[in-house]
Amino acid sequence: MEIGRRSFLSFIIGGAAGTAISPLPWKLIDDSSIWSQNWPWTPVPPDGEYSQSNSVCTLCPGGCGITVRKVDDRAVKIEGMKGHPVNDGGICVMGLSGLQLLYGPTRVKTPLKRAGKRGEGKWEKISWDEAISDVTKKLAEIRSKGESHAVGSIVNSDSGTVPNLFKRFLTAYGSPNFMTMPSMQDSYNMTMLLMQGVSAQVGFDAENADFILSFGSGIIDGWGSPVRMFKANSAWKVNGKKVVQIESRLSNTAAKSDKWIPIKPGTEAALALGIANVIIMESLYNRENIESQSGFDAFKELVLNEYSTDNVSSITGINSATIVSLAKNFAQASKPLAICGKGQGSTPGSLNEFMAVHALNALVGNINKEGGVWAVSESDYIKWPELEMDSIAESGMQKERIDGAGSEYPHAKSLLNRLAEVINSGDGSLGALFVSDANPLYSMPDSKALNTAFDSIPFVVSFSSYMDETASNSDLILPNHVYLERYEDVPTPGGLQKNVIGLTKPVVTPQFNTKNVGDSIILIAKALGGSIADAFPWDSYDACLKETLGDKWDVLEENGFWSDSDSKVATGEFNFYPDAMKSLSSFSSVSIEGSTISYPLVLIPYDSIRLANGYIGDPPFVIKTVEDTVLKGKTACVEINPKTGKELGLTEGRYAFIHTPRGKAKVKVHLYEGIMPGIVALPRGLGHTAYDKYLAGKGCNFNELIGPAEDPISGLDAAWGIRARLTKI
């Protein structure tokens, strides 16, 4: 027998066939995949003891409880905390990605002092002692010149111990310029003050409502406390409750609602009053209870005279029959609830709109009722001893605020939106500015103008944990611990109908040479000495917090939150028609900037749960979830109606420039049936220049394209859009 080439090949083929029907290849595939997972260079967190820590997420004002899984001192996973009154186990994509903000490359690791020009990115590492003494020296110098009022601070909100430490510091130092980042809460608070006569936070018993009339609120786009609203929305769907979304763009919320009513942007207040007109005309309200309330007659007169269905139809572009049926459905529902605050509610909006919507709630009698709107007394746990001001502080505190809040606009507490113009027009100046838990150079409208204003402030101190736009344009950075490394109280989140105080706890030990901003303030105060030091009797921020929370501390430490067993409702006399409503007698929507001739289109922003647009920017995980129709490559997409596209000769995917009176940016065109013709929509939350390479340079910042529009009553920013033009490239 001859063993030739053929025999050999035959042997090989037989061998291959046999191998294929033996377990060898299949088992090896499985084993090698497991083997490759265990390669020593495959990044695996080191083994250790597993544990869990409960805390509170502070990445947005939602106040969700979180449970952090740890291996030794390393946090490995953030989950929603089960049983938490805000989110009960739920978590959003941002909260889930929080670990990237703890361990990611964007952290400021040690105190930094500017070495080059401002914004150049050259920094010198300094010690904490040096950092505190630099600030102290500068502040002492300003104070000795009698210009204490020229020091300001910008923080995220005015509640909680840290913002109050800033406020206390400025008061003891002698400056009224405590400023906060604006949001819809400002408008709601003012509505509460003007219509209900109470200083209270608004709460919505959303879960119990059965007909939700939303004036552009992004219920599932990040409005209010996002996870809570997601859950409420799911429950409405399951239980057959109705959601009507009034919005000029088919947002995710609109798409998931039972009825979407597109409206001419900026005319929401007129629609609310048009609905009120139908309710009054058809006597769909409780006459006995409502008619005795103060201001009702004047309100009725306004609504009947000015807001007939036909009139409202021509203002809003919604046909009369729709308005009538909407009003009937709303008024006849057993627990109707009207809400407003556009998108995520990150801009205050027009006060008229808030008051008109609140009047609708009052008309159907759902104020402080189950399923309705609640006036929640602000948490009152901060009871610090009265501070003693020295003569400099007293004279400083008597000066008017730089932003005109409390003087020009008597009801406003803070009007950061006016700061840029006041400084740039030479009407006021600041000698030093503290920025904490806020990124105004990114998130304030007309951020470029604010940047110019910052240029004229000689000393800007940032307390940011991250190299954000504001931090990178400051002179000194005193980095705060991130939320997973520090103690801090989280006051009742906006929109919750009960007081729930959360406690952020150090889940891991601080990763870098950072310091709790509360401690930084106390150290600066102590170094300044005198009455300023006396105003801060605490050894550390943690001691201050523990003392402030008193008997709530133990519960907070154990459970992560403290909640009131019953509601603390602020009651005052309701007024349907406060003076501020008079401007509604001749309706004109808050006028937006730009002439119709050079700017034939209207640019509006939109929000997405996948895009953070406040202090925190999207971490890498989150930016990866943004769709191609929102951000393509490094260019943001604008949405326009195919009709608009046809008129302008713009097709899907074309590059174009968007021009507004405030700026210009390169965008990509996305044709979308869900937007009204003549309107251009651009996502908020893109176009960062700072943070890390995963976020910076992607898309354009909406805030660079829009300018603020002052609400005539509140002084808050009421801009809902700006006129714009699209040009082909």
Partner: protein
């Protein structure tokens, strides 16, 4: 080409067909033997347990079956293989003359050293398995997954996969990956087999704090849930 040539070719082709088939069969047989018999022997190394443990003897001596030694802690976590401290309760000194017990007492108890048991059922680190959910909640038998280990008089040889480092028990004794009984394999598919078909009993999940002012969706529904593997975030139940 001539007719003669063609004939010659046919003859030679006929003559070669035999060896070709033969070699094919040889190749087939050799690879089958290699794949089914030799390969498993090469793939797994054989390791002996440090002490030959007699389960039968121990089960007879205790009252609560498996849970006497493999118990649940107060917090619901599972103790797994007993630690030395537990064994010492009875074996501070050798109770009999069994050489294994003597070795255990001399080498480990006397020196306070933990026994480096080789764990047949050790899963990769990424797998989170809750014994309490299965044994207490679902009332499953230990044997469903671990087989008749309680009836063994000697410790089996521990076979370690040379490529992955895991025990042969995970893939199963049968190299083909097929099994006759539930306890013969412990890969993800085997978990899924049960979870895809069986309903899991879930009691009402009550919230740990009284927050009765929160209505739906905060109140949990009673009822059976199809399976833990089909609900939202199911992956994270086992893969943390």
């Amino acid at each position: 080409m001539s007719i003669q040539d063609d004939k010659a070719k046919e003859v030679s082709a006929d003559g070669a067909a035999g060896p070709i088939i033969l070699f094919f069969i040889l190749g087939l047989a050799a690879s089958l033997v290699f794949g089914w018999v030799i390969f498993p022997k090469l793939l797994y190394s054989q390791k002996k347990q440090p002490i030959d443990f007699n389960h039968v003897l121990h089960v007879e001596a205790v009252d609560e079956g498996c849970e006497s030694c493999h118990f649940f802690r107060e917090d619901g976590s599972f103790s797994g293989i007993p630690e030395l401290a537990q064994c010492v309760d009875c074996h501070e000194e050798a109770q009999g003359e069994d050489p294994n017990e003597v070795k255990f007492v001399e080498e480990y108890v006397a020196n306070g050293r933990e026994v480096p048991w080789l764990v047949y059922a050790r899963q990769p680190d990424c797998v989170f398995f809750s014994h309490v959910a299965h044994v207490k909640e679902a009332e499953m038998d230990c044997g469903t997954c671990h087989g008749h280990i309680g009836e063994s008089e000697h410790s089996r040889v521990y076979e370690e996969n040379r490529i992955t480092g895991y025990s042969r028990d995970i893939w199963g004794k049968n190299i083909s990956g097929l099994k006759k009984h539930t306890w013969e394999r412990m890969k993800m598919d085997d978990c899924a087999e049960c979870h895809a078909t069986k309903e899991i009993k879930t009691d009402v999940e009550t919230l740990p704090w009284p927050i009765n002012w929160l209505p739906l969706p905060y109140k949990k529904q009673t009822g059976n849930q199809a399976s833990v593997t089909t609900v939202k975030e199911a992956c994270f139940v086992c893969h943390k």
